[in-house]
Assembly symmetry: none
Homo-oligomer: 194 residues x 4
DNA sequence: CATGAATGAGAGTTCATTCAT
DNA sequence: GATGAATGAACTCTCATTCAT
């Protein structure tokens, strides 16, 4: 595949991403993507063979760019608690920003494609996040900033709450206040004074 | 509409429910339901005019039958903590039973139909559950069975964790052990000895 | 057929007439009539077997009631010219009253059902009208009120102009002024001073 | 759209025309046209989106080819009266040729689509014809070939008679003799000796 | 590589018509 | 007589997918 092809691939994926953001996963057709990309029907098939494949590649790209969920939060002299708080705020923003998010499309995609453990990118990200939060809390406990009995349990709990908030945002709707309440609840139980 | 019609309506809804359980919401067509019910194409339209309508009615039936989420758990001499534990176990069973559940279809439906607050049955159920759990915890605290600072906050937290588990079960997959871990975590934080 | 049946037949025809007036002929379905009549689907078939049959019977009823197109115009001491003028004014009203007219439905019906000469009610009415107008003009000429070379030719000409106006009213649209102009033109050529 | 597409478009329109001639407007379905053209269901939709659109384009084509209703009649040394006579004979032919005419379809179409004045092609053609006939009569009068008081009124009258004959041909049926009688009547009233 | 015309399966929907009650 | 549930054919429209150019 030549240089040009690679660029076109990327162009298609970026355009398709916007389509998925707008319409979720299921409602998107090859035609939608063709039209959004302004390329020929047959042309798309030269690069991808289904919306599923395209979506998976969009996800891959996405995760390459966002693998560093925590990198934003980490600065030289930030404490563990600071980082945790920043991370939660970041998540809040993400949660409430219903537009420009692949969230819904991702759920839809995983409903349809019950992937095995290995390929399940979502699971990997989840597990990775749990580990990082756990480390963060441990560090905080060591520093005396945080209080926690069961760091791993708490980390997992936090992630499930976030998942719960995320899906709730998409289904029952959720306000900024509601998210704040949950974030405060978590932090308070870690002994953070607000 | 005669007695017979009512029975047929019900028959269609029950059959449709199985179809939704099997295929989620979006992938279900009127044709699917027609075939599952073994009735004629036009016949279905005598009763319902879209998969959305059918799904909503399935949900209504469902909630009529399950409105008493807690009623199973409540026995004469059960303590608040007992009831809470039973409730959580019930939820665990539900969570893991991926077959025979409308969960996925419900999510899909709500993705597509961003209902206003009023009509949002899901939200109502969520709020109702929070209230009941809150009461339960309060009672437990009064009895000295449970320990809790912020009963409402905790109730909400529990519900979001459950939501998180529910969606995770559908997307990243989850084991019985994993659910147990979360349930124990919750109970332990309420001071229940396991 | 009992007394009751006869009444029901009539009820159906009168109701159906309104439906035809509203929707023309082709767009009307048996279902439309059933619903307008508030009777059962099967019930309608006991009386009529198609929209065509119903329409024909509506027409029959209609013509029974209107056979006397000229009767309105005729009074004891009206002269021939008076009657002709009144008749033309009557036709003008009919022309412009696009609602509450079967005109369009009739055209549609005859397009679809190219009836033989014998059954063609429309033709009969046309021919009858020509004869009456002819007589009228003759009388007028005898009275010295009107001037005319070829009474039959003029009568036919008048009727074709009226037909032309009628169809134009339904297709290209026509104003009261335009109709007046034509009526005046006709009358003037008969020597009537306006 | 390439050269080929344009040809196919035209092919479809020409084929569709035959279908409209045969079945009128309302009874024609996209399926009918698809079958007449021997193309695929979806193929037709690449070019047109409804029978209405197709019909309008057929009309457009038609009028491009017939805009010169009078051009046939006009020869170097023909007098005004000659041209008028030729025109009326042309109309007679058209009238009696019930097959291969869009007349009925046109009426049906306009029944269904009550177009505004501007878009109403029928009206434009009518008005244009009136004007030309008027001019013709004026010329004839100037030449001393014709006699006429009210050229415009007569022109309009002629057109309405023609309309009346046209619709009558479609509904009550009409013979060549009947048309001749009307044509003669018109010409005689213009002072043409037959 | 790229195009876009063409195909045909399949979804939704409406009705004329029948028939058991 | 009367009902209305049920059927199935017919129509509209949309797409994934292919293929000649």
């Amino acid at each position: 595949m030549g240089e040009k092809s690679i660029q076109k691939r990327r162009y298609i994926l970026e355009t398709a991403r916007r389509v998925f953001v707008e319409k979720g996963f299921k409602r998107v057709t090859m035609k939608d993507i063709v039209e959004a990309c302004n390329i020929s029907r047959g042309g798309l098939y030269l690069y991808f063979e289904s919306t599923s494949q395209i979506f998976l590649e969009v996800l891959k790209l996405e995760s390459e760019e966002t693998d560093d969920v925590f990198s934003h939060s980490i600065t030289e002299d930030a404490t563990a608690a600071d980082i945790l708080i920043l991370f939660l705020q970041e998540q809040k923003k993400e949660l409430l920003r219903r537009e420009d998010t692949l969230t819904q499309a991702i759920y839809e995609f995983y409903f349809e494609n019950q992937l095995g453990r290995k390929e399940n990118v979502l699971r990997k990200q989840f597990d990775a996040a749990v580990k990082i939060i756990e480390k963060l809390i441990e560090t905080g406990v060591d520093n005396g900033e945080l209080y926690c009995d069961d760091c791993q349990g708490t980390a997992r709990n936090i992630m499930f709450v976030l998942e719960g908030l995320k899906i709730s945002a998409q289904t029952i709707g959720i306000t900024a206040d509601a998210v704040d309440r949950e974030v405060f609840y978590i932090l308070r139980s870690l002994g953070v004074e607000m």
